[in-house]
């Protein structure tokens, strides 16, 4: 399967990074990791590239890495169509102080607009 993981640096996206690599390794999936712009995150693209390299190194797995500029949701969808991906994988949302799950704006956009199956990692 061809899987596209989108991460922007939020905590849930970093968790999704680890889980998606684990899963892709188990299933021997073809994984592409797309770095998207997330204005709510303090992590730079370089930070994220380091983080991805470390996670891949630890897992002993290889993935393509792409940086997407512009509107993160639509750029992810565009890449998913262009690259004929079977699945888009994203973080499953942040938790509020009270414990409410709150989906990020990127997940919302992708869920509503994707033609591809979308998986949110919890």
């Amino acid at each position: 399967m061809k899987t596209l993981l989108g991460i922007g640096g939020s905590d849930d996206s970093l968790y999704a990074l680890e889980k998606a690599i684990e899963r892709a390794k188990e299933a021997d999936d073809d994984l592409t990791i797309a770095i998207v712009e997330n204005s709510d995150s303090d992590m730079t693209e370089a930070d994220l590239r380091d983080r991805i390299a470390a996670a891949l190194g630890e897992a002993g797995f290889d993935a393509d890495i792409e940086s997407l500029s512009g509107h993160p949701g639509s750029q992810l969808l565009e890449l998913a169509e262009r690259g004929s991906f079977d699945r888009i994988v994203l973080g499953g949302g942040e938790t509020s102080p009270l414990g409410k799950v709150q989906l990020g704006s990127i997940s919302e956009f992708v869920l509503l607009n994707a033609q591809t199956t979308v998986t949110l990692i919890r």
Binding site: S96, P97, L98, G99, K100, Q102, S105
Partner: protein, 178 residues
């Protein structure tokens, strides 16, 4: 992101305790809550899964207990509505670490639509104000018209973020003098 709070102070509402007859003539008492996890865990175990919102209350009892322990930490505000000896509603304020509090309210199914939510949230806001809390926010699913109307009635205004959930905020006190 910076959240815009209303310029005017909501209420102000009287802190608990308060007692009243609900629309079905049941005597209801609202008090600050200090009875610990067990009593409320019982109420949440009986909670109808369809009344869950954004993942809370959690489904399993051990998850409910862990969640409640977080709500009973220092600086949180909890008020509970009682019908005789039974807790039938709970409202809570939890500090967000950024100078404001997040609000949530739950009323057991058979007690919904009887005016208890309004009394409960007013008592909670009164208690929060008494404790010096200045600003409160919440999120609510956009389709939940009953909840949204309740929040508007007690002084919350939409701080629209364009997300799935509607975000609303209320001011309990004027900002402290600079």
């Amino acid at each position: 992101m910076t959240r815009e709070y209303p310029a005017t102070v909501a209420g102000p509402y009287e802190p608990p305790p308060r007692t009243f007859l609900d629309r079905e003539e049941r005597p209801i008492a609202i008090r600050r809550y200090a009875e610990g996890v067990d009593t409320l865990a019982g109420m949440y175990t009986a909670f109808d899964p369809e009344d869950r919102a954004q993942g809370i209350p959690p489904a399993r009892e051990d998850q409910i207990r862990t969640w409640l322990e977080g709500l009973f930490e220092d600086d949180c505000v909890n008020v509970v509505a009682w019908h005789d000896e039974d807790p039938i509603g709970h409202a809570t304020l939890v500090p967000d670490g950024k100078g404001a509090c997040e609000l949530a309210i739950f009323v057991l199914g058979p007690y919904q639509g009887a005016g208890i939510g309004t009394e409960l949230i007013e008592a909670l806001l009164g208690a929060g104000r008494e404790d010096g809390i200045e600003r409160v926010w919440l999120t609510v699913e956009r389709w939940n018209g009953a909840a949204t109307a309740l929040y508007r009635n007690v002084g919350f205004e939409s701080t629209d973020t364009g997300n799935f959930e509607l975000e609303m905020a209320a001011r309990l006190r004027e900002d402290a003098a600079e």
